[in-house]
């Protein structure tokens, strides 16, 4: 009973963290580029995941080493997140416009023409597919090491359902949050998760395990605020008297 609870809890928490990562990506894309394409991307990724898991199952876990997956996915998420954070810092410092008119124009045109936003589709597809693969790894990893795959699978499925429900509930309130703040928070989150996973893939053992992500996020907030202060200071020095 206790073992079952531990297996369920580990799969639930691990899958929950991964699902939150996927949700962050889908929400970020949906809130900034519209919902249709990212949701289609997420659905396509989920479908491919179901097929992959059904076809390969435990072979996937056995063949690709966990450290390699963490390092590769972590590095990609880090690059993606740092790019967002970089832009968010420049927006906060007033170097680039808060609202991207070109992007708004593209969205409007896409909306009018009823065309598919392939970038939104691809980002969402990639995020859900990669994070979903990690969920599959966690479920198979925990389940096979504890010789209790059904309980681990239940933990993973419940985590995905709970996180998806929370995401659906948060969708409307999140639209009222300023766009730049949203992009800044997503940039910090993705950079933090990417750093955490990439370092774990390298063999780093973080103190407090996944709670270290909060410390990493706090550091990125501090670093970005230092950057904003420096840029604003530089602008004041060069401004004509």
């Amino acid at each position: 009973m206790v073992t079952n609870a531990l297996v369920f809890g580990a799969a639930f928490l691990g899958s929950g963290v991964e699902s939150v990562e996927a949700l962050t990506i889908v929400l970020a894309v949906g809130l900034t580029r519209g919902w249709r394409s990212p949701l289609a991307g997420a659905a396509a990724a989920a479908l491919i995941l179901i097929v992959l898991v059904a076809a390969f199952g435990q072979v996937l876990v056995a063949v690709v080493p966990d450290w390699l997956l963490k390092l590769a996915i972590g590095s990609l998420i880090l690059l993606f997140g740092l790019r967002w954070l970089h832009k968010a810092v420049l927006r906060s410092a007033g170097v680039i416009a808060e609202h991207d008119e070109g992007e708004a124009f593209e969205e409007t045109v896409a909306g009018l023409a009823g065309a598919t936003d392939w970038i939104g589709f691809l980002i969402s597809f990639k995020g859900v597919l990669l994070e979903g693969l990690e969920v599959a790894f966690i479920v198979f990893g925990v389940g096979s090491s504890a010789h209790n795959l059904p309980v681990a699978a239940a933990g993973g499925i419940v985590a995905v359902v709970v996180v998806t429900a929370i995401g659906a509930a948060l969708r409307k309130p999140l639209t009222r949050v300023p766009e730049n703040l949203m992009k800044y928070v997503v940039g910090v989150l993705l950079s933090s998760l990417g750093t955490f996973w990439a370092a774990e893939g390298m063999g780093v053992i973080w103190p407090l395990d996944f709670l270290a992500i909060l410390g990493i996020a706090a550091f990125y907030v501090l670093a970005s605020q230092v950057a904003v202060t420096l840029i604003r200071g530089g602008a004041r020095r060069t401004a004509p008297a």
Binding site: T195, V204, A223, A227, L230
Partner: protein, 71 residues
């Protein structure tokens, strides 16, 4: 073919805005990996984080300066 190249550019653009910055990030990750392999401690994580934070400050300040000079 042109559409494929454009799609590839879009995908690469998700991760790369400035090739120099990306190169520096990759070098930082490589250094972090080497340190992690040598020490197997949280120290490598701390160093990695510090370097990534420093590159963020440096490259955003550099781009801001560049944009200011162009304006």
């Amino acid at each position: 073919m042109r559409a494929l190249r454009a799609a590839a550019r879009e995908v690469v653009g998700l991760f790369v805005a400035d090739w120099w910055q990306t190169l520096v990030i990759v070098l930082i990750l490589a250094a972090g990996w080497a340190l992690a392999a040598a020490t197997h401690s949280a120290l490598a994580g701390g160093v990695l984080l510090l370097l990534l934070g420093a590159q963020l400050v440096y490259f955003t300040a550099a781009e801001a300066g560049r944009r200011r000079r162009q304006a």
